[in-house]
Point group: C3
Chain length 664, copies 3
Amino acid sequence: MQLGVCYYPEHWNPNRWAIDAQQMRSIGLEIVRIAEFSWQKIEPVEGNYQWDWLDTAIETLSAAGLKLILGTPTATPPPWLCQQYPEILPVDALGHTRHYGSRRHYCPNSPAYHQHSQRIVQALAERYGHDSRVIGWQIDNEFGDHDTARCYCQHCTHAYQAWLKTRYGTLETLNEAWGAVFWSQSYTDWAQIRLPNLTVVNPNPSAVLDYYRFASDSVVNYQKLQLDLLRQLAPSHFVTTNLLGSYHDLDYHKLAQGLDFVSWDSYPTGYTETHGHRLYPPGERPQFAFDVGDPYVIGFCHALTYGLLRRPFWIMEQQIGNVNWTDYNTGVRPGTPRLWSWHAAGHGADVVVFFRWRACLFAQEQYHSGVLNHAAEPALGWDEILSLQAEQAELKQFTAQPPTAKVALLLDYENLWAIQLQPHRKEFTYLRHLFVWYCALQALAIPVEIVAHRADFSQFQCVIAPTLHINDDGLAERLQAFAAQGGQVVVGIRSGFKTESNRVTDAPLPGVYRTLLGSKVQAWSSLPPQVQCALESASPAAAGLHIAEPAGQWVESLHSETSQVLLTYASGLYSGKAALTCQAHGSGNAYTFGWYPSVGQARTFLAWLAERHAMPRLVEALPYGVFATQRGAQTLLLNFLDTPQDVEVGGRRHSLAARDVKVV
Amino acid sequence: MQLGVCYYPEHWNPNRWAIDAQQMRSIGLEIVRIAEFSWQKIEPVEGNYQWDWLDTAIETLSAAGLKLILGTPTATPPPWLCQQYPEILPVDALGHTRHYGSRRHYCPNSPAYHQHSQRIVQALAERYGHDSRVIGWQIDNEFGDHDTARCYCQHCTHAYQAWLKTRYGTLETLNEAWGAVFWSQSYTDWAQIRLPNLTVVNPNPSAVLDYYRFASDSVVNYQKLQLDLLRQLAPSHFVTTNLLGSYHDLDYHKLAQGLDFVSWDSYPTGYTETHGHRLYPPGERPQFAFDVGDPYVIGFCHALTYGLLRRPFWIMEQQIGNVNWTDYNTGVRPGTPRLWSWHAAGHGADVVVFFRWRACLFAQEQYHSGVLNHAAEPALGWDEILSLQAEQAELKQFTAQPPTAKVALLLDYENLWAIQLQPHRKEFTYLRHLFVWYCALQALAIPVEIVAHRADFSQFQCVIAPTLHINDDGLAERLQAFAAQGGQVVVGIRSGFKTESNRVTDAPLPGVYRTLLGSKVQAWSSLPPQVQCALESASPAAAGLHIAEPAGQWVESLHSETSQVLLTYASGLYSGKAALTCQAHGSGNAYTFGWYPSVGQARTFLAWLAERHAMPRLVEALPYGVFATQRGAQTLLLNFLDTPQDVEVGGRRHSLAARDVKVV
Amino acid sequence: MQLGVCYYPEHWNPNRWAIDAQQMRSIGLEIVRIAEFSWQKIEPVEGNYQWDWLDTAIETLSAAGLKLILGTPTATPPPWLCQQYPEILPVDALGHTRHYGSRRHYCPNSPAYHQHSQRIVQALAERYGHDSRVIGWQIDNEFGDHDTARCYCQHCTHAYQAWLKTRYGTLETLNEAWGAVFWSQSYTDWAQIRLPNLTVVNPNPSAVLDYYRFASDSVVNYQKLQLDLLRQLAPSHFVTTNLLGSYHDLDYHKLAQGLDFVSWDSYPTGYTETHGHRLYPPGERPQFAFDVGDPYVIGFCHALTYGLLRRPFWIMEQQIGNVNWTDYNTGVRPGTPRLWSWHAAGHGADVVVFFRWRACLFAQEQYHSGVLNHAAEPALGWDEILSLQAEQAELKQFTAQPPTAKVALLLDYENLWAIQLQPHRKEFTYLRHLFVWYCALQALAIPVEIVAHRADFSQFQCVIAPTLHINDDGLAERLQAFAAQGGQVVVGIRSGFKTESNRVTDAPLPGVYRTLLGSKVQAWSSLPPQVQCALESASPAAAGLHIAEPAGQWVESLHSETSQVLLTYASGLYSGKAALTCQAHGSGNAYTFGWYPSVGQARTFLAWLAERHAMPRLVEALPYGVFATQRGAQTLLLNFLDTPQDVEVGGRRHSLAARDVKVV
């Protein structure tokens, strides 16, 4: 594993650069990322490029032994550009122009912005594309952050119309795909099609799903414009971009395509505070040591990021002290950044780049910590990096092999969006549903990959799809083939409901997955909070599977057609009907979950399944607060509590200090 | 009672129409409503009418034995119309244009929209106005829904100025009526008068009340434009519109005038979930079986709808499974839609039209259930309709007579708006105050009509006016005459406070009601949540009236002028002052309530009053969860719980199964 | 002390004026404020002044023996003015124009509005500037109320650019001061600088602090335009304006400069209900009698207002019954307005003007009470004023001397804004932090002045600065000099962090206060709610100082350089590090608080400090609910509870009735 740091030479007096560079090396940092917000510094006046400062910065850092990553600076168009070309500014869903003065103030479909982005990236790549001091490039920065994946400007309106014309060919096809006859909204002219904002009440969900696809494609295309240039002008450098964990306004599977690897920006306390509620049910969140964030949430993001290209990734920004963008911005204690770095490594990170070298003296991120504090004195992170440096041998050995997993969890952004547009039940989100299964797997110490629907399943023993909401014939066939070869498939509620264009299928549910699952959904219901349905075993085949907690939130009444009923509802709307079925295919099985499971229920089921099918668990009995990950044959144990924990692995007892890690 | 269903032939392949029609008839449906959102299908290009599909649909449905209701499709102007005449689009209070893409995207004062509405309604009425397969018309759909009663566009500004000119004649009169001298806002030019939005702080409440009146009148006028055409072109058909229960941005008393009858769209689970909090105090709501909604809320809406024209009404859309527009969209169990249909009948519905025939495969209402599910299989509602069909004889007999009531509850939209504009206390609303009295009457099994201020009171024994906020001389006189002839009048707090133009009267309170009530209000106070004032009996005339619960929220200090004091405050701000008085008039009385009552307090008082004046109660001791209504001489008992209940009526014990009904 | 009342002759029939005036005098009122919203009445058409009504009103009131204050009517530009000069209207942060129809609908930087304001003030001052019936003027009304201190219109954009040019001279200086290099936002043209609204994410905090300064200066300049005119045309009249207590979008220290005295509008129940949560931690608020408001909150506002010019002030509007602008608008009982008036006197008010004479019959303030009710009958306030009249001798004697205090609490609006822009912790506000110390002092009966940073400290024994956030060399020196002469200085967390331009200092913390405090801040942390750090005594010098409650919210790790450590952290992030230090200077000391104190902790510390340094306390053991203030040698005791309280002062026992006062 290599360590790096984010650095902004333009923020500091050039006479600090050499000192900073020397200090970075002195604590073992090898990589430095620069320049990703420096457009104005490179080009203060249109066409007038200022390379001196950047040449010097690169030379100074390189001279100290650091390898450089350059960010393209397109996340921050300078004021002069916005003043001269105001048409590049994005528009929000209420129709207000989003102005410059911070960052990400551009529309990804603006022709003028395409032209200027091309110009600045070309200038940079022409100058440094063959520079061996530079090892790679980061395109833009955190695409979509600050709600910028979706723009509602006139450029986007026209681009959306064109995108739809390409997708549907004729208005007749589009009107049919969208069911536009509903509420008399059929179109007779492409120019009539609006972006789906500012309607009196909710717009057509087929139109919105297409708009989400279009908006995501717009960013993917915008990235491709830069990627193509870099491939051409910097052929020996790697190219990546930095993502945002469980962010989902962009189809990360598409965005990752063509990159050498992906990276993400990991801020465990910040991310847990601001995004945790999007993964946990409202009001529920487990407690760990106060300054570590939530290892389920961060582990999920690591796993999701790994699965985008199914190869090791980078942490492009790793929190190294407090952040500045949450409600409490909790202070961090010694030991915690080291724990985070190991945790990242455990899930497949090969490089960890800390954010940032020195706390900034000005502007929006003043309160964000750095390895050095504002006064240039070593802050908490300094010793953390030294700790990691001291255990580099162990780290390198541990990260020599990639993570391994025999269980796949399926993730698909279009399915996610379709559920998001019509959750039908207040707290229902695709990611929460996925996260239930992720947490259950983590709690059982079963390694898991989070992969796309189109992934090759051959390495897995088990594929879990909490919801296959949109019908996909090919996927149904591939899952059946996977089962036939001995795989275990688990499919949950709301499956087979939608067509590709976000209409409801007119086939009985679960649509194209009916043969795979051997069960028909006869009825389904959303339940208010207080209503629950007891479950009971229905067959000797369910021996050992005891789910005492009743089903809630969402229940489906299953009718076994060719499957075996494992559990039935013992009370409630569907009393006596099947709740869990199993369809044999060759040497494998396809299980149908008829209700929205809790983590406890999913865990009980998975433990039963793992035992039945000899699926490996890293640790048999993981104490609360301890997590386990695997790379190659090595298991990493991490303790996220403030109290020591004992863990038995393979018959041997290991003691973990508070917030400590151990490779076993 | 007749049963019907809503159908959208344009949503389905024409080869399904005959099958659907035959199935409808097979389960006993007699009526079908169509076409209310089909403008684009009828007129896909301006002036180019396509009648074939509609002719065929009508013929197919009629041929199966169904009677047709046609909706005018003006709730959904097609995209081509919005593209060509963007001036028809409404503007919200923040000044944003509300665009097409859903429904109700029109300004009721747009001259262009008047013209096009006239055109499409005329075309429809000319074609089907004398068609005997059609029995009637529904104008538009759910006027005002999605916050569309009030528009803030330029057409509305000009129309408002004209409306004010008609109302006030001169600016001097208007300035005086509004007290515009306050904060220097007197007008010297009609063009200076703005709609009351986007002001720095709250606008003049007289201006806003006039704006609410104007906005309501605008919709009434817009409806009249269609109504006049239909009367002329379809003279033998009935004309109605479908309302929204306790919705109150429109003056339903004015909107109902001229219609043959009114109808409303009853979604008990949905309506309870989204509107219940507008009727109950925050955080308080009684519990019933989880899938029945709230019978107080829905009963209130039925009663309110009945009272608009004081004649039986229709349910134009009756929920038949889950809805799709609330937080939880609770699943519904067998038996519940039947219970709802009987409940509607019990309050005066003569026809119940279920929404909708088959669950829609596309667009905004995909998750809404139908009698058939998406796959065209019978869903829950199928058997419900069969159950009702099986008891048609009993239903017809029960609905042969109209509901009867000896108690009137007064409702007035202008009084409601005046309170809404200046509630003076956070949770104070006119409807909550009214609903307290409604619930108390229901709990006592005392039938009640909710009637307008101008209603003829002669059929009643008792008239309850929770608040006569605006002074109305004629009403004061009519109530006094009613009392003089033996009637009991109950009048509550905040009465006589306002003038017609929403100023405060300069007369002592309760203004013009002072002679009627025989008491003067010496002072009044809003109370914070924790402050309460005990009540105690003040006279032998109050014998039997024990109100142990102290008064809270709002108290008025009454001074008896000619009345008798029944209760006094025993603690708090007005300790020793009168809290409840009784003024005799001839053989009747006028009671003044000095505080905001709880349901329990109102119930105690009404039980005392009913006993004192021999007011009939359908059941002496109604168990919690059981409701009773009356049509003619028949009493309907309904059990909204999941447990059986025993009810004694006239000395005879009746057993009601869970969610069951019984006519006794 | 003198009593007055607010009166609006234009709201009433002129035949009431003489009656009203006579009644005012009959209950002892001496002063009447008029005309502050009467522009339209004075000038109904541009240039056409109508003086008759105002001449008559002044004559009528004066003839009855009342002295007049005239308000300039610029808070309410009439409709005709807005219609002819729409460019005067302000724009909100979302870019929406804020329209006329209520009040304060003007931009303080509008050239047209400057011109018309000048015109109307000049006309008024020319007519009444030498009129001896008039004693003084109130400029405008409640500057900044309804969020009007900050406007986002084009006039403001240009004025802001000009203001910045004056402040920084060159763009290079500005870019450096703002750290505009961050996110590439350096400016190359003054015209590129936008107001800091509508950015994609939070704007640069240096730009925003400058915008806050600019916006405040804009209002100060606008006031000065009027003040200069009045000084010239009404040289023998006083000039004041009416402020809003703890309102802080304007720099009240600057706004007060040049006025003869300041006044504020005191609505204890209303202000407590709407602003209390800005001073107390969320969810915490002490309880008093239900109708008195919160004496800590109102006392704080009195003290803050007194401190603006460090001289007695007026209550320009004193609540006299219920208000109409809060959630509950609690009714008020006899005795309470008298208590409020004494409370104001106790904190330095010399005149109390009640709002308003008679409850208004129309427009926005109909539900606001007056001395007379709507029907012109005496309301609650009538007898209150008579009570005060009866004790005028005692009141006059008590108010003959100004308040005295030996403790100063420092307040600075720029420091407040800097914290507001980057609180770093959810509930952290500058005012809450200040209020903790204020409450502790009040609970100990230690009189306190709230003074500006630039105040002369010579009269004080102790100066408390909860946060000296922005580095200020001169202040550091003055505090050190104050200590050297025997003063006690207390400085809290987050001090020395910022530069004048709202960057972070690159010096070790606490920046320029390091010598004064003798301690260096080695690290600091915001803490989430559940995390706490125990405190323990570290030195014999801390004898008697026991703080059992642990530190929370925010902790700083202090390193004593020349100071003595009094307390250390006994657990948590900084266990073993210093938490409270004391630096001797000459005969005085400078204490450094390392954590965010609770009221209890501050009280324990202050009691210890007061005992150690013989700082006077008015009462040794103040019962909960009783407050004490001092003017000259007289102590005023006030009981804000509904139960009688006994207080021992100087060895003598005093009994206070419920909601009663006593001078001892």
